[in-house]
């Protein structure tokens, strides 16, 4: 698998439900970040979790990181139609300079 693969590729839920997206990666990292992208628009930084952190919260977002499994999850609670977007994980690899390596993304659709 490639660095930064998300699953599922697509997720459709009802408003009010929780959405969980997973990301796997292959290398050692300094941190892992989640970004959101509305269709055809720019990337918006959501949350960053450092390699020595296991869980982080920001509003309705909860991110976990398991460096032993090289995986992360993003949970959006009480989803809203406005959460409809693509979500990408991105890793800041150890020794990888300061660039980010993006995953393939999860397309989330929240229906009314």
């Amino acid at each position: 698998s490639q660095q930064g693969e998300e699953d599922p590729q697509a997720l459709s839920i009802q408003e009010g439900e929780n959405a969980t997206m997973n990301c796997s990666y292959k290398t050692s990292i300094n941190n892992l970040q989640w970004y959101r992208q509305n269709s055809g628009r720019g990337l918006v930084h959501l949350i960053l979790i450092r390699s020595n952190e296991r869980e982080k919260h920001s509003g309705r977002l909860r991110v976990t990181l398991d460096t032993s499994k090289k995986s992360s999850s993003l949970l959006i609670t009480a989803s809203r139609a406005a959460d409809t977007a693509s979500y990408f994980c991105a890793t800041d690899e150890t020794g990888g300079g300061n660039k980010l390596t993006f995953g393939t993304g999860t397309q989330l659709k929240v229906e009314l």
Partner: protein, 114 residues
């Protein structure tokens, strides 16, 4: 909230022409980047720039590409002799010194080569 500004939002160019994509990073950020996203594909790293020089570049960033910070505020990506496969969304981003808070991306320039 500070923003990264990119212009133009959409550029159409003839194959073989040169294009310059412009970006104004956040003023107190020290690292600048260009990424691209071909339609339906991953966001790919092109180049990072620090202290007025390229700090890292990907295999994509060949001699066709160049970056410049011509003054204290602008950061440009030049693509010489554009090809059809250069059609993509190009994102500029900037970050603070340690990237401890993530990047701030611009809204992108959609480049269409015809």
């Amino acid at each position: 909230e500070p923003e990264v500004t990119q212009t133009p939002s959409h550029q159409v160019t003839q194959m073989g022409q040169e294009v310059i994509l412009r970006c104004v990073p956040i003023s107190n950020h020290l690292y600048f980047y260009w990424y691209r996203q071909i339609l339906g594909q991953k966001v790919e790293f092109l180049v990072s720039f620090y202290n007025n020089e390229i700090s890292e570049k990907s295999e994509i960033f060949d001699d066709q590409f160049s970056v410049e910070r011509p003054d204290g505020s602008n950061f440009t990506l030049k693509i010489r002799s554009t090809k059809l496969e250069d059609s993509a969304m190009y994102f500029c981003a900037s970050s603070e010194r340690t990237n401890a808070r993530g990047y701030t991306f611009g809204s992108g320039t959609r480049l269409t080569v015809v």
